[in-house]
Amino acid sequence: MSVKVTHLSKLFATQRAVDDVSFEAHQGEVLGFLGPNGAGKTTTMKIITGYLPASSGQAEVCGFDVALHPMEARRRVGYLPEHNPLYRDMYVREYLTFTAGVHGVPQAAKRVAAMIELTGLGSHRHKHINELSKGYRQRVGLAQAMLHDPEVLILDEPTSGLDPNQIVEIRQLIKDIGREKTVILSTHILGEVEAVCDRAIIINRGKLVADATIEELKRQFSGQSVVTVEFAEAGDQKRLAAIPNVLSVKGLDKNRWQLHAAVDHDVRPDIFAFAVANKLTLLELHKETYSVEDVFQQLTK
């Protein structure tokens, strides 16, 4: 067990930022940490990294309680905080060398060079951090987090503020790392969870509301299947609702409809038959699967 959190709670004055949260993250797994803003994602991460103390409950990293054996736990964690704080007046390589020194990394120069290579900072290594674009700064943040080869990586919104190409690159990087290490990454971009994570945890107002693999989450919440259909001619809502197995009908555009049906029955043949019987021209027939967005919205309503 790389990261184990048991009955963790955190009180700020009277507000419960984290409320009795328990979960585990295993080696070789990318764990997505989802939740609306202010749900307690960052606070939980800060507790695991030892920045904040828990009000009650425990957080363990590789078997070391972060409150009782902070140094042992910290050695095994790489951390990228929310706004990626960096010393702006330092050079990229200087900063990474400093970080290596603080961690006591053996053969620091070699390791720093390897990290620069891995994060694609090669052409920027002699630049001031101040001069770097946001995407490259994010790479510096990732490089410093991975520099001491930690078993656990905690990344708080690693792709925020990046352009789409950079997001794809950073995600690929995280995925690659996640094959060997434990990665916990927080985000409120749901597509990111689907793209990168093996498992997701959803928290809302400090409470854990879901802990499952992405497939499980989707299956659990797809109680209905949704079919979008478009006809060339005007349809009639009532007649559409009369199609066998259709539970409800919602108008989207002029001639577009969204039909809900039971999950275990494919309603498309019925719709086709309906179109044929009524001499309607079928322009679109598309079955949708539930996305993480829907799950997220349902859980954090």
Binding site: Y79, R88, D89
Partner: protein, 243 residues
């Protein structure tokens, strides 16, 4: 701790801070020592460095808070403190590294004033007619005073994420410890032995005592405890997120 020390020293000398601090100190000191007629050694008629040792604390009063104000305030402002305290080093190492780096910078500023010593030594009649022991004691006293100011400055910097607040607070605290206790001890409410005690809390009393060239263990203990007190307070203040 060494990494932090090295990083701080590098940041002093890769930016202008280090050069400005050393430059300003030496220009001011040079002017007062050799040019300003009322203070100049040349006009004083005595072969001593009293001017250096009486003016330096006053320059340090402003210069040291300027050096220390960014140490922790900037880290707290930019959020880098979060990374620093979650690395496998203790808060003592962080504070210690920063304290030593600032102290070394101040020591660098003092180093060239040894030339003044040589000059006055050569100018004495006869040559070398100079209280070398007293001067050595004064240098040690001045270093301890600087160390105490640095400890106060780093502490002030840990209290806030605003560098200007840190500077003003540090200047005030340094002034208070340097002179205010001396002045307060003259209040009529402190009489008999109590005025000695009040005076003894201040830095000036112990600094003067060391300037005489006698290294009294009481003065050393005073300075070491004052420095330790403020460093401990800094570590405590760094941990305030945990309260």
């Amino acid at each position: 701790m060494l990494s932090i020390f090295r990083k701080e020293i590098n940041s002093f000398f890769s930016s202008l801070i280090g050069y400005i601090v050393i430059g300003v100190f030496l220009v001011l000191m040079g002017l007062v020592m050799w040019v300003f007629p009322d203070y100049s050694v040349l006009d004083g008629g005595y072969a001593n460095l009293n001017t250096l040792f009486s003016i330096s604390p006053l320059i340090f009063l402003f210069l040291i808070p300027a050096v220390t104000m960014r140490t922790l305030a900037e880290e707290q402002q930019s959020g880098t403190i979060e990374l620093l305290v979650t690395r496998p080093i203790s808060d003592w190492q962080i504070v210690g590294g920063k304290f030593l780096a600032c102290l070394v910078l101040v020591a660098f500023a003092l180093l060239p004033t040894l030339l003044y010593f040589v000059t006055v030594y050569r100018l004495g009649a006869p040559v070398g007619n100079l209280d070398s022991g007293g001067i050595l004691g004064s240098y040690i006293g001045l270093l301890f005073l600087a160390a105490a100011f640095v400890a106060i400055g780093v502490f002030a910097s840990s209290l806030t994420n605003n560098q200007i607040v840190a500077f003003v607070l540090a200047t005030f605290l340094c002034f208070f410890f340097l002179l205010a206790f001396d002045f307060l001890s003259r209040l009529p409410v402190f009489f008999g032995k109590t005025d000695d005690v009040v005076q003894g809390i201040g830095i000036q009393y112990h600094y003067d005592s060391m300037s005489r060239g006698v290294l009294d263990s009481r003065d050393l203990i005073y300075f070491v405890s004052l420095i330790a007190l403020f460093l401990a307070a800094t570590v405590l203040s760094l941990g305030k997120r945990k309260w």
